[in-house]
């Protein structure tokens, strides 16, 4: 029986394993050094905030794996020999494979900052990171102030987490406005204000110069590059993005760049070795997508696809329309299609922007100014239907159609107030100004 070994038990690896099991009788083994069972990484924040216990983050009960004949092996791989098809573990164990799927995910970025290895300095990615956070920032007497470096999605989640335990937070963001490499200005501004409303000390256009050591190798303070200001703190969160977690793969024959290089079939340069999820890097980017997509959804989609290929139905990774979501404190965010921030915005892309007076809801609709084709939507504080926008993007609807049919896409709970009329008015007004 063919033995499929999957390195990594995150959403990518587990999705691949589940689909291979559905499609075949192959022997399947999932390897993880992080946790015995699959858990939802995105839910770690809720454990710290006391919304859930760790066991609640596990999407499948523990009996699921044995019942579905998916072997789980806990351990770290030290070397990977593609010639003999044997994996060598750090404790001396060996495991041979017929097909190998690399799904090792990411690790937090560090940029060689002075002091980045001190006690109390960490990212927020793994279960171990969560455990360390409980040691260094359990409450506001042990951690009198926390500093977060890097204004992305993990940074703002970490700010929300620390805030829930009433730990004062200083949030250093390199950009001039929160996440404005992705979000258009109106949205980014609104989130800036929302962050400050939660009593977060938000510092825009601020870079980290160094992290200062106190007694016993513990963090004492950070120094800001621009102003030279020193901020005393007991915890530093490094959340300046993530990069592929592939150190041990770099020692093998498998070709890597930032991530493990794969073709459209998610195949590496070595036959029978595949890479999926955060750690995979497309040799050529697909459409407007980045060549490395460190997103839950794309990891899952790659898992679905590679299972087909491994089970003799060779399939390219050919994702549908882009979508994503996040939550900024109390404000939910969804996006469908492409809406660019001011930096990477193509010339033809025009925006309709509407914001509610309460400063917690807004939408931006992007369209092609030459053809009026609808390109995408960012929605904050209003839930929208994935299925409807996916269909409209496929049908290449124009922006008038989308604006006039917005109520079909509304996904807010029953009895919620609707804002379609206000959005249509904003559209008309903006057209007149243009």
């Amino acid at each position: 029986m063919e033995h499929v070994v999957i390195i990594g038990n995150g959403i990518s690896g587990v999705t691949a394993a589940r689909h291979i099991r559905k499609l075949s009788n192959k022997k399947i083994t999932i390897i993880s050094g992080e946790s015995e069972y699959f858990f939802s990484r995105t839910a770690l924040m809720y454990v710290y905030m006391g919304h859930m216990k760790f066991e609640h983050t596990k999407p499948y009960e523990d009996w699921f794996w044995e019942k579905n004949r998916i072997n789980l092996k806990k351990g770290f791989i030290e070397t990977l020999d593609t010639a003999t098809k044997i994996l060598h573990f750090s404790n001396g164990d060996k495991l041979d494979y017929d097909k190998l799927i690399i799904a090792t995910g990411s690790k937090p970025n560090t940029f060689g900052w002075k002091g980045q290895d001190l006690k109390g300095v960490q990212g927020l990615y793994s279960k171990q990171d969560l455990e360390n956070l409980e040691v260094h920032a359990p409450n506001n007497t042990i951690c009198k102030r926390a500093v977060i470096i890097g204004g992305g999605l993990i940074g703002i989640e970490l700010a929300e987490m620390l805030n829930s335990r009433k730990i004062p937070v200083t949030f250093l963001v390199r950009e001039s406005s929160f996440w404005n490499g992705v979000l258009p200005d109106g949205e980014s501004d609104m989130i800036n204000r929302h962050i400050k409303n939660h009593h977060i000390d938000l510092r825009l256009s601020s870079n980290l110069k160094e992290i200062v050591s106190g007694e016993q190798g513990k963090v004492k303070s950070v120094i800001i590059e621009e102003t030279g200001e020193e901020i005393a703190c007991d915890f530093v969160g490094l959340t300046a993005g993530v990069s592929p977690n592939i150190d041990f793969i770099k020692l093998s024959d498998i070709e890597t760049n930032k991530g493990v290089l794969v073709n459209r079939f998610l195949e590496t340069n070595i036959p029978n070795v595949y890479a999926i999820g955060d750690c995979a890097e497309q040799r050529e980017a697909i459409g407007k997508r980045k060549s490395i997509e460190a997103v839950w959804y794309t990891g899952r989609i790659m898992g679905e696809v590679v299972a087909q290929t491994i089970c003799s139905n060779k399939m390219p990774y050919n994702p549908g329309h882009w979508f994503n979501s996040a939550k900024f404190f109390d404000i939910e965010y969804q996006t469908y299609g492409w809406v660019h921030g001011s930096k990477g915005k193509p010339d033809y892309e025009e925006h309709v922007h509407w914001k509610h007076d309460d400063d917690t809801k807004c939408i931006t609709i992007a369209f092609n100014r030459n053809t009026n084709e609808f390109l995408g939507i960012n929605t904050f504080g209003i839930r929208m239907r994935h299925e409807v926008f996916d269909r409209w993007l496929t049908e290449k609807r124009d922006v008038d159609y989308v604006i006039n049919h917005l109520s079909e896409a509304n996904f807010d709970p029953e009895f919620y107030k609707h804002y379609e009329q206000a959005i249509q008015n904003a559209y008309k007004n903006q057209l007149q100004i243009v």
Partner: protein
């Protein structure tokens, strides 16, 4: 630094979760109100009972209002579950267990030893706690209080004050606010005020909470009540007919249109208590698959039990002579058999493929048992019914299901098993509504394409123990008989994945293997098999 390290994943309580000074004062005010009740229980003879009852009620209300305002109004609108698993009361800690034990003891005394609460024996005056409620009872219905009046008053008060707290907690969510106003209204008006006022207008009528429908109201068709209804003239007869119409006509229509939530989360008193007082315990429900299996067998067994019991009880007072009264014992049994056969046949013909294997076996098994027992009686003339005396069935049901299950376990164990234990495992009304919701209803919880991140907030906060995430992460709508449609899964979802909806029956159950967002060809290939 002399601070103790407080470094647990969840067990130890981070200091930030402590109560504020204002909340402590509010608790003191509320407990002072409760203390007046305790004093009354120990036979303190208040000179002016009306005054002290009012004082107690006002203190409890004021305490809860101040507490809620301080807990929620100072924060931004949004989900308020910070520290739920760190607090002793809401994570099966010492406070949780103590509360559970206290409530359980209270229910045991209430159901089985009301004399300890001060219930008068024949012809004497009430004492203790029950006497404290005499003035209010006299005011409403003109008679002294009973243990049920005391219980009803406290029950209603609890729903009102904790309903206020719930509305502040979910003040960003209009659906939750409206639903809570609805259950507060139905409890105050239909369960509490109207029956008392009806008694004042026509003292022949039995106590009748109009929203409490058979089989939840399992005693509705017992002999003494039916006699009282009939003796009370047209109004009584109207109420009796309303009771039958409620379950046979009104309930199926509303459940078809809106799912069982129209009852369980908008009208029902048990649901009202679970959603308001029980809200801090909703996450304690058991989510394991084994719990779901037990639930299916227990709740449907209770339904079979109540059908048999009611049939037997009604039979026991019907005659055999059709010249005296048109509804004879044999005709009644024939009708019951006809209805059950019709339901069974329709389900098996049209919905057979939607039933799981164990559901099919269970349905066939129960159907055979019921028809066998009814047939046994239909063709015999002895006085025992279904092998047991109808009176034995009735008292057994009243004790096991009516008292122990719905009261002692159902509510007493809130802080241990979560707030909907009765609704999930015991309520025969929920079983009927759920059966229809699963097979003949427009209601479903829609999943939003591929947006689920499997975080598990929905499953954690489902009071009915449904593993909502298991469906959401497959992009599959949630169509479950036990779902009471409270809407909290949708509220706590951080990615906007869940929406409660009434839509067409077609495509309501939509299992998918490949989620929206992937290659269209692959989705077609795999999902349309």
């Amino acid at each position: 630094m002399s601070h103790k390290p407080n470094q647990s994943m969840s067990l130890a309580k981070p200091d930030a979760q402590d109560l504020s000074v204002k909340q402590k004062i509010a608790l003191a005010i509320g407990f002072t109100g409760c203390f007046i009740l305790v004093l009354a229980l120990f036979n303190t003879n208040f000179s002016n009972k009306g005054l002290f009852l009012t004082l107690s009620t006002v203190l409890i209300t004021v305490g809860t209002v101040i507490f809620s305002n301080d807990a929620y109004l100072n924060t931004s609108k949004g989900i308020k579950n910070d520290g739920v698993w760190f607090k002793s009361i809401s994570s099966r800690g010492i406070l949780g267990w103590l509360t559970g034990i206290f409530l359980t003891l209270f229910y045991i005394v209430l159901y089985f030893y009301p004399q300890y609460l001060g219930l008068a024996s024949d012809g004497q005056n009430n004492t203790g706690l029950i006497a404290l409620f005499d003035p209010l009872s006299q005011l409403l219905s003109g008679r002294p209080a009973s243990q049920w009046f005391v219980y009803g008053t406290l029950y209603t008060l609890a729903i009102l004050v904790f309903g206020y707290k719930f509305m502040l907690k979910y003040r960003d969510n209009k659906h939750e606010k409206l639903r809570t106003v609805s259950v507060m209204f139905f409890q105050l008006a239909f369960a509490f005020l109207i029956p008392e006022l009806m008694y004042r207008l026509n003292s022949d009528l039995p106590y009748y909470d109009l929203k409490s429908i058979w089989p939840l109201n399992y005693y509705n068709f017992e002999r003494y009540r039916v006699n009282q209804f009939i003796d009370a003239g047209d109004v009584g007869l109207g109420l009796l007919i309303f009771g039958i119409v409620s379950i046979l006509i009104i309930t199926p229509i509303l459940t078809y249109k809106y799912g069982k939530r129209w009852y369980c989360s908008w009208v029902c008193g048990c649901g009202a208590l679970a959603e308001t007082v029980g809200d801090p315990f909703r996450h304690l429900s058991d989510k394991r698959q084994i719990a779901w299996k037990i639930e299916r067998w227990v709740v449907h067994s209770v339904l079979v039990f109540v059908v048999l019991m009611t049939t037997a009880v009604v039979c026991s007072y019907l005659g055999n002579d059709s010249s005296k009264y048109w509804l004879t014992r044999k005709l009644f049994l024939g009708l019951v058999t006809a209805i059950l056969t019709l339901v069974f046949a329709l389900t098996m013909i049209f919905k057979r493929q939607e039933l799981g294997k164990d559901a099919r076996y269970g349905a066939i098994g129960y159907f055979v048992i019921i028809i066998f027992l009814i047939g046994l009686h239909y063709f015999s003339t002895n006085t025992t019914l279904f092998l047991f005396k109808s009176e034995t069935l009735r008292t057994t049901y009243a004790f096991l299901i009516g008292s122990i299950f719905s009261g002692v376990i159902g509510t007493g164990f809130y802080p241990i098993f979560g707030s909907r234990v009765w609704c999930r495992f015991g309520c025969p009304m929920a079983a009927i509504l759920g059966f229809q919701q699963r097979l003949f209803s427009k209601f479903r919880i829609t999943t939003n394409g591929g947006q689920c991140i499997s975080c598990g907030n929905c499953s954690t906060y489902c009071e009915m123990g449904i593993d909502v995430r298991a469906y959401a992460q497959k992009g599959e709508n949630i169509v479950r008989s036990s779902c009471v449609g409270c809407g909290i899964c949708s509220a706590v979802c951080p990615r906007g994945v869940l929406k409660l909806e009434n839509d067409s029956m077609k495509g309501r159950i939509n299992p998918t293997e490949i989620l929206l967002g992937n290659d269209v060809n692959l989705m077609d290939l795999v999902n349309q098999k």
